[in-house]
Amino acid sequence: MLHIARYKQVLILLACLAGVLFTLPNFFYSRVERHNDAITAQEAGRTDAEIEADAALWPSFLPSALVNLGLDLRGGAHLLAEVKVADVYATTMDAMWPEVRDVLAAERDAIGFVTREEAEPGLLKVRISKADGVERALEVVRGLAQPVVTLTGAGQSNIVVSAEGPVLTVQLSDAEKQASDDRTVKQALEIIRRRIDAAGTREPAIQRVGDSRILIQVPGAKSAQELKGWIGTTAQLGFHGVVGRTTNASTEPGAGNFLAASVNEEGVYYVLERTSVVTGEELVDAQPSFDQNGQPAVSFRFNPAGARKFGVYTSENIGAPFAIVLDDEVISAPTIQTAITGGSGIITGNFTIEESTNLAVLLRAGALPAGLDFLEERTIGPELGADSIRAGQMAALVGFIAVMAFMALTYGWFGWIANLALILNMTMIMGALSLLGATLTLPGIAGIVLTMGMAVDANVLVFERVREEMKVVKGPARAIELGYDRAMSAIVDANLTTIITAAILWFVGSGPVRGFATTLGIGIVTSVFTAIFVTRLFIVWWFQRRRPKTLEI
């Protein structure tokens, strides 16, 4: 009767102790934050007196995980971007054209001349001059097809070739499109991550959402526009041969060439060869530096293939100009003085130090494989976040005290036991949030306050039941035992249904809503634990000590 096994008592107390221990760092938020930053710095191999001092701010044997504050509490920027995956189809088809041309040219006797026709992006249309050779043409182009390398698309080929009269149409198969989309998004994700890391912010969250979307949340970013600046520029770098220089913006560049404006010389345009000598993808490193005149510049280094191409081109074109083109604008167009075979060089052009640093970062990270559409952007200022934290803390505190007073007034001594359980419950929620690295948002605080109200529910169910049983059965011990036993089914059913809603909220919601679901879900688990195990343990202890004849409840 009213007995809890010794090992259970120990387990319950250990769980409570763990809750308190993991909550502790949150009471010293900025101190622990500095400690954590210092530890990260030390692990990265950097150390100085300041870092040492910061690391010593918090004893390392204590847990140091903190509750992550959401953007709405800390301020920052949130972007939802859609990767224009279809962009890549066009590039792929363009890249395929020389290959198609070559295999068709080899069959000139059967199909005649081959010309590429205008077509919407993603389609490659080829006209052959001998219409009756179309069967043969289909055959050789289909010969170029390769199997798709994914699990789901296995066994399918990457291109679909069809013919209408003397015009062949080549396009990517659905399986290949899917595989291509997946590659594109992964690549974009990686590049965005590198660019944002390069900007050096704390704990950015960059994740893929659905098939082709990327969610970027950066606490501490000044605005969504700033964030877009970090990731938005495509930074497509190319080294092109220069055909001519003009001041007429409507100059016809001619086949195989294009016109690009100069960044530094107003009104000057360059006619450049469309095919670049080397592209930014062949860069292995780019660093901000200074040229021989002490002007900010960017020095770069090519990979071996790029270095070779660059070396061959420069040795063949000594004395001719070439252009360094970034996002279709000419940054500089120096004249080749000597063959550059070492694979490294320097880009100059009226940069400020900040510009040269940014350019180096963009070049290092590489170009985005496709453009981005921004579907959603939110900026929350740090003051608004701080206000929200203050208001939330105040409300939580007042709610906490009011609920405790209400419980104490209603159930007396038992109410205080429930209140003690409530305090433990709150610390366990915070501890669990820290341990899981979950994010606390403003609705999350609301979730905690709501849990506070509902957490006492399980105790209320038990206490009310004990009151009822007191009228029926003999002896308080039996009443307490029956109270807990009989209230159990209601507690389980009531809380399981709430867990269901919390789970659905978590899966469907994002950002703040998910934050609410997290605290609500954790709160339910901890409140059931404290109500069923912790209060029971306290009541059993109290009962064994006092052996009361009646219960005042």
């Binding site: 208001a391 409300a395 709501l450 509902m454």
Partner: protein, 322 residues
């Protein structure tokens, strides 16, 4: 001295005024549906796309001047509302500016934001921009869809759970109670044109969770009493169960409301709509579990003759339902 919200051994006949309460609820539901159709909901940018800018200024906000400044830019529909809150400082004046989604754009462009900020700074040099949020039409359409799925999914999952744990009549009673709560909330939102956004959906789901919680406690007791008092008429069993759990229902609603009240007053204006929705939901949820859910169960009747099923029929599968 102990505080007792509800005296011991109450014997309230919850079905005495069934015509008034149940009829009243039906009327209110119809009114909500009419309001929803006629007035519509005041969707936030989450659901209709567009941009909201929260401004914070040390000088008094003149809504008309703000509106005129932004309207000059020709961005279409502009709504400016001033925000008041007890947690603000004395010289803190906050306004929300909403601009409709721009044609041919997903989220708002850099230049447009800069234009608006410049226009506002011109009329009020002390203004700062606490937050800028922009949602494109593509996402907002999807958000509505997922929100509707979320509410329906939650209701379906809960009904399924109750069906498994209780009888189908209880599940139906619970789902009608939930529809009642959600319906009345939407009606109130339409009537007062309160901003309906993602947070409201989260609040609706919380209401669903809370209301079911309350209903389940009464049902749990009814299930117990149905076994205990086999001869008692169903209406008496349900009344007894409601009376027995009334004290608990009031205590839990009371503590939850106390906590929410603190949040409503002190929690700041950013989450006030959200907290208000939950507070309202707890009031209607408590009402519906006492007056709606049980009425449905009573109307449908419950199979009482469990005893017969237990008779051994000599079949080894005799205890397996279905």
């Amino acid at each position: 001295m102990r505080l007792r919200l509800i005296p011991d051994n109450t014997n309230i006949n919850f079905f005495g005024y069934a015509k008034v309460t149940f009829g009243g609820s039906i009327l209110l539901l119809i009114a909500s549906a009419v309001l929803f159709v006629v007035m519509g909901l005041n969707f936030g940018i989450d659901f209709r796309g567009g941009t909201t800018i929260r401004t914070d200024s040390t000088t008094e906000v003149d809504v008309g001047v703000y509106r005129a400044a932004v309207e000059e830019l020709g961005l279409g529909d502009v709504v400016v509302t001033q925000v008041f809150d007890p947690t603000f400082d004395a010289d803190q004046h906050v306004a929300m500016i909403r601009i409709q989604a721009q044609d041919g754009q997903e989220s708002i462009g850099e230049e447009t934001v800069a234009q608006i900020e410049a226009a506002l700074l011109a009329v009020d040099p002390a203004v700062t921009f606490a937050s800028v949020e922009s949602v494109g039409p593509k996402v907002s359409g999807e958000l509505i869809q997922t929100a509707v799925y979320a509410v329906l999914g939650a209701v379906a999952a809960i009904v399924l759970y109750i069906w498994v744990r209780f009888e189908w009549q209880f599940a139906l009673g619970a789902v009608v109670a939930l529809a009642h709560d959600v319906g009345l909330t939407i009606g109130l939102w339409a009537l007062f044109q309160i901003k309906f956004d993602l947070a409201t959906i989260a609040a609706l789901l919380t209401i669903v969770g809370y209301s079911i919680n309350d209903t389940v406690v009464v049902f749990d007791r009814a299930r117990e009493n149905l076994v205990k008092f086999k001869q008692m008429p169903l209406v008496d069993v349900l009344n007894l169960s409601a009376n027995e759990t009334l004290s608990r229902t009031m205590m839990t609603s009371g503590t939850t409301l106390i906590a929410l009240l603190a949040l409503l007053v002190l929690g700041g204006d950013v989450i006030r709509g959200f907290v208000f929705a939950i507070t309202w939901g707890i009031l209607v949820g408590t009402y519906s579990s006492i007056y709606i859910a049980k009425n449905i169960v009573l109307m449908l009747g419950v199979k009482r003759d469990w005893s017969k099923e237990k008779k051994p029929s000599g079949n080894q599968f005799m205890d397996i339902d279905a």
